[in-house]
Symmetry: D2
Subunit: 378 residues, 4 copies
């Protein structure tokens, strides 16, 4: 039984999610390679030591350079803030480590291009952390579309909507400062990734982006919000299909509104992450008078479900998505070749965001650059 020494950068929300996933993945999937939790890096020595103890890492550090250079570490999981991604990933590749990096891939398209180039030069495994597309339901949606079960797709409508900043009385914070932390920079990547995964590349788009609440309470008064709250994108995919994306952090009432509706010439799909264990399928060829959207509950017949439970409808959750990512990262390392979604996929998402901003500024349609070279797609 071979092991992979893991270094984890980040002990917050996503850091914990990856730590739990790395603890559980071998038991869930009986992976050939098994993670050995070598070192965690967080911001204070006490915090890092506490997280190491909680998560089961052998050592801790406050310097990611130490972690990246450590000879017992074979692979690095980057779950630290977006503005650190590039600086960690590049030396990691240089030190011969495989890299899993949380979305978004760096601070924008310029950084992600550099990261992608470094990843491709390295010959190592690279992966971007788009976890929501890993649910059995969304994997099933990809299969259904790819198999032509709904015919030729003619319309895609997606959203990522939450309401954590809907209340204008909420105070200014790191998240209300700086383009990268805004709604398009931070919240849009997951649903753009879903659009690309389900529909293929976007050819052109037209976007409208805004800051709904322009000031926020701050100590001693108010503070200007320097990034965006919500935005929408009309697009055409390379396939010819028409599409729309809506992304909002002020969508009152929405908690995990990662949702899409897809129409094809022979059927349709509907999904909402708020009920992540169901996929709704309409089949045009069902008998006359018996047609309608069928609520398919995920189960052992669907991708990656069975490892979590043998009974259909028993349900997987948020944490299980991260376990699936960990399985794929380990399998990619075992195979010595990247697996979808790679840094190329992370970069393509940034290209769409970049094009959306360009369109918003020009008030019109713009083309999205095709990705040169050969992206790794599952």
């Amino acid at each position: 039984m071979s092991e992979v020494g893991i270094g984890l950068v980040g002990g917050g929300y996503m850091g914990k999610a990856h730590a739990v996933a790395l603890s559980a993945v071998a038991a869930v999937f009986d992976t050939a390679l098994r993670p050995r939790l070598e070192m965690i890096c967080t911001t204070t020595p006490e915090g890092a030591a506490a997280k190491a103890r909680q998560f089961g890492f052998a050592r801790s550090t406050v310097d990611w350079r130490t972690l990246v250079a450590d000879p017992r570490i074979d692979a690095v999981v980057i779950a630290s803030p977006q503005d650190t991604h590039k600086d960690i990933a590049l030396p990691a590749f240089a030190a011969g480590k495989h890299v899993f990096c949380e979305k978004p891939l760096g601070l924008g398209v310029v950084e992600s291009r550099v990261m992608l180039e470094a990843a491709q030069r390295s010959g190592l495994v690279h992966m971007t952390g788009f976890n929501y597309i890993r649910t059995p339901a969304s994997q099933l949606a990809r299969q259904i579309i790819a198999a032509g079960e709904i015919g030729e797709v003619t319309w895609f409508c997606g959203e990522h909507t939450e309401d954590f900043y809907a209340d204008p009385a909420l105070a200014a914070s790191r998240r209300t400062r700086g383009k990268a932390n805004g709604n398009m920079g931070d919240l849009s990547p997951h649903i753009i990734n879903a659009a690309l995964a389900l529909m293929g590349p976007i050819r052109s788009l037209c976007a409208d982006i805004e800051t709904v609440h322009r000031t926020r309470p701050a100590p001693g008064g108010t503070e200007a919000v320097t990034n965006d709250d919500q935005g929408q994108i009309m697009c055409r995919f390379v396939s010819g299909a028409m599409g729309h994306l809506f992304i909002s952090r002020v969508a009152t009432g929405r908690k995990m509104g990662y949702a899409y509706e897809i129409s094809g010439t022979e059927g349709a799909l509907r999904f909402d992450q708020e009920d992540q264990n169901a996929l709704w399928l309409y089949r045009s060829r069902d008998p006359q008078g018996r047609q309608g959207f069928t609520k398919i509950l995920t189960g052992p017949d669907h991708p990656d479900y069975q490892a979590f439970c043998l009974g259909p409808g028993h349900g997987t959750g948020y944490q299980d998505q991260i376990i699936i990512e960990a399985r794929d990262f380990l399998e990619a390392i075992a195979a010595g070749t990247p697996r979808w979604p790679t840094f190329a996929d992370g970069h393509m998402v940034n290209q769409v965001i970049d094009a959306a901003w360009a369109s918003h500024e020009r008030r019109g349609w713009v083309d999205v650059d095709p990705l040169e070279g050969e992206p790794h797609r599952s």
Copy 2:
């Protein structure tokens, strides 16, 4: 008890709906003015006579000029094809008749402007047939927004989606020929009316319109489709709110997808005509941990429900919307003043459609003309 002599032009789908409504409205609402079914006009003498018998009209004709000129007729209901609206409405006003005209109001913005001017000059009652906004649920939505229950509205997303042309094997027909019969011309008015009713006027928009299935089977081969199948509109309302509309006759699986989602700073609303007796309301001020979308079933507490049934949740249907329209038309005649939605509202909808086509052709944003004068708004 006073009566209003009614002449109905059209005996098809909408003609029948209005005939049934006129038969039932006095019993349902105990209206002061009661309709007297004087004459119906359809295309053949036999058909007209049969419809008169079925619907209870005293006389029938194949010539709307005869109907419009008849001295026992006080009010004309126009439920004939779109390209006849102007030609019937103008002489009707000239003859001193009140006019109810089905949506869309004429063939486009040029005709509807002429019709609106004639209506306003006449001093008579004029009304446009936007029936879906009449459900108790959508009337309740208007009340909730107007009362500020969801705060300041920041996002409106609406759709009118059906799938009656989703199958590419469906033959060409009148509906696949000519701009006015296309998706934007024929299907979009209801949801544009909803957007205006719920949100107020649109300031600017950017649209993308397409013909998904460019040829259709026809006798002896195929025929080019000469109008559009689906389209989308990004917009900004005069209020500042961001919006989106999607209209499609090829939305596989959707039967009556007149649906909207509205976010505000203190709540949110969701509605789908496929379950027309429910309105979903989210209140940000509900207690912590007890928040969520509440499924309000319409009942006697809500507008115009009680006349149909004293029990909540018992439900109204499509036909009942037309009965509510008939009640308002009769009340407007009794009051001698137009009631919402008037020809001004029908014309404003056409202005938005016109702007959408202009935007689509220019590939960019366009402003929507403000309506001059003083429209009648409820």
Copy 3:
């Protein structure tokens, strides 16, 4: 074109529903026989005259004997309180009138047996007013079961739940006095009728019935509630299937909870009147991994929908159920033979209620009497 002279007894909730239905039915269904609204009977001369004017009846009376004896009246619709049904129906048959009687059929099984015998002796048309089973969705459910689409039915679960007496602070009223006005007497008939219509006769049952709120506020203090609030019935159908019924007027949150779930060896059905335009169908033979409950929206493919609207998903409502009843009553008169549901069906419902009370009192299982003779079943 032949007419049927109609006399309507009752101008309240159900009286109005029938009056509206009689106004609209000919236009909706183009019936061969057309109703002529001859006379309405309510409790005061002024009220009766007002109702006649509102509903379009030619004459009014406060004495149902006058109405029943009137030579211009061919058929009587009884929509007055339950304790008047027998006294009106018997002389109506004796006078040669066809009779439509609202549910429940008389005050209990003793009265309904007498009414049924009179109806059968008369050779006239008799019908009981079970309107909820008339929705296109519930008619479709009957078709699906009868066609064997869900195989052999193994389980039926039905409820009629409302919450109009859930609040213990609601005052005592006529509805809280007397067995016939209680939950079993007044609310249970519709869902028992549904059980019989969908599943066939009940062989045996075991019931538990209770008064949840035993006193109610009354002028000057409190008053004892002398009837029941909720009850449940376990049963076995003659088919062998197991079943359960729950009936409650204190089911907080339920407004029109006429709902059922039915399992068969090859499929299943779910229905809830609160969303009366949808029927949920599960087919065991759908492809592996694509099975689930399909939400079928009613449309022109389904029974009696098309007369109301040509578009699927546009929806019918409460009032439309009564129009369907009126159509069947007129057609039965035209054919000279009763149509389902007849007085036999009303009596069978009363037999089940009677058995439920017997079971409750004995605290055990009892058999339900089979109906002698040949009931009219559609």
Copy 4:
């Protein structure tokens, strides 16, 4: 940091679930006591060794006696078949081990009484594996009822319905042989536990139980099914509330139908495990015209959610329920005192099942024995 040596008996469905939970629990909850995976016991040496490697246990065995006696093991998790529970638990207590035992607790009420007595005599920690009641949503339901938010509860309706034996063509197996493996013996415990947890003890009940498919295909022909397929229970709780339970393994279309509806004098609750991240709450005191069932998505405001994810609506799944159980088992060991649900709760469930069989056989109502002594209830 203290550790607890864990021995796990069983490497099948539930064995794996507990193994994964024990791998992840410390990282998820930062527990004071941390599990040390000492030994797993399955049926073959090769299988046991493979499971030990997959799940991370130090050693393996095929003899649970070895495991129970091992000095490095402090606590035993029993996830082997029902007929082994008693034989393992008794020597485990005798050897001073804490015991977690999967539901149902032994083969029936006779065994569970013995197990409970042994547990209570031992002074050790004992817990029964009722995982479904651990979801944040069902924990929230308990809180809401306990806090009186829905007033006095007047009706409870629960079901545990699956369809794994709905197809009559499915072959006979271990599950179709012997009372303990039947529907009441195997499937009913979870929902009975839910009824007791949410409503308190049951006073009396009346049950009907049946074998829907009496023979099953077997090698060379058919085989008689010797246990039950579905059953229903009418009951009265000690609180006075009326209740109903339905349990079925032939409920076509149902996959994880652990569902309940609860009515109270001031509100109501609805839950279905097939959408385990939502609890529906109706509040009678919401404003007039704004009442309805609110779909509360679970989030950090609700019990045990936050350890899995900081974002509401992101969702927990089946496996997470087992992690919560592991946390409670560890905390109980740390505290030296049993935590709900103990063996007393497992035994009370068996008492209800026993009473249901007695009622079924007598065809009438029976009382449920009150549990003597002082059960541990959270």
